[in-house]
């Protein structure tokens, strides 16, 4: 579904991604882990077209999309739940969701959007309660859910999530992971970035480890979970304080 070869990208002179290659197959959950500043967000932004790569190629659904605009990439079925949520603060929750349905409406018409809206309310009941509130006044967690709901509104083939569990209550985090699993059941493909490596690898089929802009390890989740390097670097489960 998504194939990336020898990708380089960055900001101005700063080269953040160095020679990245990866692929995501249909129906998979793939996770990407890495320390702060490794370039995970940058990678997602490059895929969705917010940043233009300086080298390499990206194929989504077997069509190269390095030169496409964000709009085209989203329309072709790729959606991003951004890192800092990026809700439309001065618009209502429902409007936020409807905006998420922009490409769906173009593809399948209004009825589909309203059906999908109901679906999202079902996934995130709290959003239904807050539907007329300005999104900017939602609590952090509520905003996170809204961002997810909005991305899902486009019924994407591939959902990319940038640390979706950030700032969520443990119970909700579990719900989120449930939702991700459910998305896979519904035939979606997910590219997941998570700090909670253990949980992420727990639900993912495969994983990549990113360090200062390079993929250093990759493989099926269970193998990564067993990898001692990975364990030492990301999964340390021992006490967090001395």
């Amino acid at each position: 579904m998504l194939k990336i070869r020898n990708l380089d990208a960055g900001y101005g002179k700063l080269r953040v991604l160095k020679n990245i290659s990866l692929h995501v197959d249909p129906g998979e959950i793939v996770t990407m882990i890495g320390a702060n500043g490794a370039g995970k967000t940058t990678l997602l932004h490059t895929i969705i077209g917010l940043i233009k790569p300086t080298k390499g190629e990206i194929n989504f659904l077997d069509t190269p999309c390095c030169r496409s605009s964000v709009g085209q990439i989203v329309a072709s079925g790729c959606a991003l739940v951004p890192e800092n949520r990026q809700v439309f603060a001065s618009m209502s929750v429902e409007e936020n969701l409807l905006l998420g349905g922009h490409v769906l409406q173009k593809r399948e018409g209004r009825a589909a959007v309203h059906k999908e809206l109901a679906h999202q309310y079902e996934l995130f009941p709290i959003l239904r309660e807050r539907r007329n509130q300005f999104a900017g006044t939602l609590s952090g967690g509520e905003q996170q859910m809204l961002a997810m709901g909005r991305a899902l509104m486009s019924k994407p083939r591939l959902v990319m999530m940038d640390e979706p569990s950030t700032g969520l209550a443990p119970l909700i985090v579990r719900d989120i992971f449930q939702i991700i699993l459910r998305l896979r059941e519904e035939g979606n493909t997910v590219l997941l970035i998570e700090q909670n490596a253990k949980a992420a690898l727990g639900i993912a089929d495969r994983g990549y480890v990113l360090e200062v802009g390079k993929v250093i390890v990759q493989g099926p989740s269970d193998i990564l979970l067993a990898n001692t390097d990975v364990q030492r670097a990301y999964l340390g489960r021992e006490k967090v304080t001395e």
């Binding site: 989203v74 990026q86 439309f88 922009h102």
Partner: protein, 296 residues
């Protein structure tokens, strides 16, 4: 004050107010789509008037107005494409200053095309002194045209921004551009569209008011100042509020004539605006909550 005089002031105020309002509406469109105030809005009004006056030599009035509106829309689009479209994440301050520059340029271009003389469209109905009377109060039919135009615009725009997907998308672009992109919205086209729309609305305003106010190459800035005042007074982004605020301000100005020297009229109306802003920092009908949630 005799009732006659009272009503005459009242209708004078409504005349002023509807002129201000019809200009203010244009400000709100670009504001809603980009979060900036287009300081060249007054020049769109001027262009609408000037172009239609020039076209009137070749075609009947309705056609001249329609063509002027269309042409101004093209100019609006061209300006956006030339000066704004390709900027990478411009700040509000930068956009304000660019539009100030555009306003200066448009004025200069107009000066060199049309010269400094004043022109006007003919009255749509009747002539300069035609009025109809309600009781002893006389109103020019052109005022009715202006009011009608602003009413239609407000209704249309409200419908557009509140209930149509494309209107919602425009607002989304101003609320958070990145997020709008992520929703698959073509933010650039939205901005272009908003410039076209506000240019068109400005041009239409320029046409309907031209018989009353006359059009001159620099008549834009004075109108823009009033329009801006009214847009702020009502609360940015809300066109219905702008009309109410416009008429309110117009009426205040009209009645102020009876108590203070006319020379201070503008000072009075702006002082009132300032006082209102100090009490309600987001305009009469603006929501502080919504404004706080915007990025600036």
């Amino acid at each position: 004050m005799s009732p006659d005089l009272f009503f005459q002031y009242l209708f004078a105020g409504i005349t002023y107010g509807s002129i201000y309002a019809v200009v203010a509406i244009g400000f709100n469109i670009i504001y809603n789509a980009t979060g900036i105030i287009n300081f060249a809005q007054g020049e769109f009004v001027m262009l609408g008037g000037m172009i239609s006056i020039s076209l009137l030599h070749f075609m009947p009035l309705p056609l001249a107005i329609a063509s002027a509106v269309a042409l101004t829309m093209l100019i609006g689009a061209a300006i956006e494409i030339l000066f704004i479209r390709w900027l990478q994440s411009p700040s509000v301050m930068r956009m304000i200053i660019i539009t100030i520059g555009i306003s200066i340029l448009l004025k200069e271009v107009a000066l060199h095309i049309w010269g400094e003389s004043i022109r006007s469209l003919p009255y749509f109905y009747g002539n300069e002194i035609t009025t109809f009377s309600i009781g002893s109060v006389h109103i020019s039919p052109q005022v009715v045209w202006v009011i009608l135009a602003s009413a239609v615009m407000v209704a249309g725009l409200n419908l557009f921004f509140k209930s149509t997907p494309i209107g919602r998308e425009m607002r989304a672009c101003s609320a958070n551009r990145t997020a709008a992109l992520l929703c698959g919205i073509n933010a650039r086209n939205m901005v272009t569209l908003s410039f076209m729309l506000s240019a068109g609305i400005g041009a239409l305003a320029g046409c309907v008011m031209s018989p009353i106010t006359y059009t001159q190459y620099d008549s834009g800035s004075a109108l823009a100042l009033k329009g801006f005042t009214v847009a702020i007074l009502g609360g940015l982004g809300n066109s219905g509020a702008a009309v109410l605020a416009g008429i309110l301000l117009g009426i205040i100005e009209a009645f102020s004539v009876s108590v203070v020297p006319l020379a201070f009229q503008d000072a009075i109306s702006i002082a009132i605006l300032l006082v209102i802003l100090f009490v309600k920092p987001h305009g009469l009908f603006g929501s502080g909550d919504a404004a706080r949630l915007k990025d600036f």
